[in-house]
């Protein structure tokens, strides 16, 4: 392969094409045969991706630029309306931009908290202690318990929310709520409140965070288990403390997985059912007006935001990880 890379692009394209055309010189070579078989193996994916991904994507993009009118006898027509859908979604719709903003904020906080949490839990689960297997079984339960329809179904109940508010109020007044009283204490003593607000938000959302970090724990744990014990042994012999070897060995070895986990967490958060933007898109689409154009414009904006966050976090994490190498 290394010899071939010197060739011009056109030559390699020509060769690639020849691999699939019987009768040419390249066709009967071993690499060409392998290439054909390989293509055959991934053919289902190619077909699916083109027909059920690319085509709908293009179609949905078209719809987001047009006004979609359903005809009475089935079928539909599209009328160009000059970016009105995007305009409407971003500036006219009463809920969309606010929901988008709050969800993005929640996403940033939750992603950071999930990464830290799952990393800590993975480190603990990687140690040897009694009941470790049971702990593992329980920590991966959220993979089941927080999938699909299950999260958010109870919080959609009004009573549940009402009770939550009441419970919060009662706790605040009686001082039982530790995080709230601690927060007050810190505020009174004059510690900067901006950062602490975020931290307390994380503490209050700890249930959501643990429920969302099943897969991430597994991924971190697999990374931890692949570190060879001889590294720690060598560090120990050289007089490295556990704290030092954590920062000098464990963290750098696992940090490449940080990116995978970060992306997974962001995507997972954006696709959840209890996300208010997803709910809004659904209600716009299947609601009274059946407003397909606006709904697809919204989902494109939403996707764009998700992509933006993934790009930003990739940029940051690759920088951070590089400095450790």
């Amino acid at each position: 392969m290394s010899g071939k890379s010197r060739k011009s692009i056109f030559a390699s394209i020509a060769e690639a094409v020849q691999m699939y055309i019987p009768g040419t010189k390249v066709y009967h070579t071993m690499p060409a045969r392998r290439a054909r078989i390989g293509t055959l193996f991934i053919l289902p994916f190619i077909i699916g991706f083109i027909f059920f991904m690319v085509q709908p994507l293009i179609f949905s993009f078209q719809m987001s630029l047009h006004e979609v009118k359903l005809r009475a006898g089935g079928g539909f027509e599209m009328v160009w309306n000059n970016y009105h859908n995007y305009n409407y979604a971003l500036f006219r719709d009463p809920d969309f931009n606010q929901d988008l903003l709050t969800e993005s904020g929640r996403m940033v906080v939750n992603t950071i908290a999930t990464l830290v949490m799952s990393f800590v839990i993975a480190v603990i689960l990687n140690q040897k202690f009694k009941g470790r297997i049971i702990c593992r079984v329980i920590f991966f339960l959220p993979v089941i318990l927080s999938s699909g329809v299950l999260p958010g179904i109870e919080s959609s109940n009004e009573f549940y929310n009402m009770m939550g508010d009441i419970a919060n109020n009662v706790q605040n007044s009686s001082g039982v709520n530790i995080s709230a009283s601690l927060q007050q204490l810190l505020q009174v003593s004059g510690v900067g409140s901006g950062v602490f607000d975020v931290i307390f938000q994380m503490i209050d959302a700890i249930y959501d965070i643990v429920m969302a970090s099943g897969i991430q724990i597994i991924i971190f744990l697999s990374g931890l288990q692949s570190i060879s014990p001889s590294l720690y042994e060598a560090a120990d012999v050289e007089g490295c403390s556990a704290w030092e070897s954590f920062w000098k060995i464990t963290f750098p070895m696992v940090s490449p997985l940080l990116l995978v986990n970060c992306i997974y967490t962001i995507i997972d958060f954006f696709m959840k059912n209890d996300n208010s933007v997803v709910e809004l898109i659904n209600s716009t689409m299947y609601g009274v007006q059946l407003n397909f154009g606006v709904a697809s414009a919204m989902s494109w904006i939403y996707f764009g935001v998700a992509l933006l966050f993934i790009a930003i976090s990739t940029f940051i994490i690759t920088r951070v990880v590089k400095s450790y190498e």
Partner: protein, 336 residues
């Protein structure tokens, strides 16, 4: 540790004696260890309890009669035990039918997904072909693109299904596939179903970790490519495939998004569960022949039971297969 060392410190000497000899180091170290394990145990217990507690609350709540719900002296143990709630929820979610439908559809879909994903993953892991990087980029894109983006257009595509205008030519109009399972099976077989990109990724990661010499040996002995794949690669890959299957099964079981969009012709448990509240008032009013507003507490109880019924089969499955779930995924994730 060398032998004379043990003799010097002496196992039979008391802890304090040994501590004195090490000039307090032993005590410091031992107490540090104990403190660490106590903190760890507390943390683990707390977090585990937090995960399980909602399920336990739901379980105890599910046996309560309605009046127990409003009795503030009752917190966990029901005073009037009843199984009536389960019957009501079963009626509300058309229980046996919806569960059976969910079961066979989940099995079918996850089988399709896993078969397709295995083939594609093997293709990516072992063959060099033109545009390989590009197609793998597409797999990553598949993982990243939220299905919500294409939801609308897939809905429209299948509502007015047509293959390059052929069906319109023959039948005169497009056909509506929205209530049939066919589109979803097609999507699963072509790797664009529920979280399918992830399965391709996991399986590819596994296939890459298998030494290539195995296949070379098979090739030298005259084994064809397909034969090598079926006889040599597949048996070893079974644990990973099984874990993909389990994930797919569980996610399909609880899935709402695809079920609502593509399987509206079937009564599925997850869809029934998501709309349980709207059916509740009708159910109770039919019983009493008048319109009743179901109290919120009661609603919450019935929803909890619905969630419980949905989870129990999965939890039982998980308890038996947790090794497959966890260990083989840990194996595949190891290389980045």
């Amino acid at each position: 540790m060398s032998k004379d060392n043990t003799v010097f410190i002496g196992k039979n000497k008391s802890f304090w004696e040994r501590n004195r000899r090490s000039e307090g180091y032993l005590l410091k170290r031992r107490s540090g260890q104990i403190a660490l394990s106590v903190i760890r145990a507390l943390l683990m217990f707390g977090l585990c309890f937090m995960i399980i507690q909602p399920m336990l609350t739901r379980l105890s709540m599910s046996f309560m009669e309605e009046r127990d719900l409003y009795d503030s002296t009752i917190i966990l143990l029901p005073r009037h035990v009843t199984l009536d709630n389960y019957r009501i929820v079963a009626d509300l979610t058309s229980f046996p039918t919806s569960m059976l439908n969910t079961l066979w559809i989940s099995l079918l879909i996850s089988a399709c997904q896993v078969v397709a994903a295995t083939l594609v993953a093997y293709g990516f892991a072992r063959f060099d072909f033109p545009l390989k990087k590009f197609w793998f980029g597409c797999v990553v894109a598949l993982i990243i693109i939220p299905p919500q983006t294409i939801q609308t257009s897939l809905y429209m595509t299948f509502a007015n299904f047509d293959i390059l205008g052929l069906i319109t030519l023959i039948k005169g109009s497009t056909i509506n596939l929205r209530s049939s399972i066919l589109p979803y099976v097609l999507m699963s077989l072509t790797c664009v179903g529920l979280k399918n990109g992830l399965f391709i990724y996991m399986l590819r990661q596994y296939f890459r970790s298998v030494p290539e010499s195995l296949e070379e040996a098979a090739y030298v002995d005259g084994c064809s490519t397909m034969h090598t794949f079926v006889k040599i690669m597949l048996p070893d890959a079974m644990p990973t495939i099984a874990s993909c299957f389990l994930f797919s099964f569980v996610w399909q079981w609880t899935d709402l998004f695809y079920s609502r969009n593509f399987l509206s012709g079937y009564t599925l448990y997850s869809v029934q569960l998501s709309t349980i509240v709207s059916r509740m008032s009708r159910y109770f009013s039919d019983n009493a022949n008048q319109s009743i507003v179901v109290p919120n507490g009661r609603q919450l109880q019935l929803i909890s039971i619905g969630v419980l019924i949905c989870c129990i089969p999965l939890i039982i499955l998980y308890c038996f297969t947790q090794r497959t779930f966890v260990e083989s995924l840990a194996m595949t994730g190891s290389k980045e």
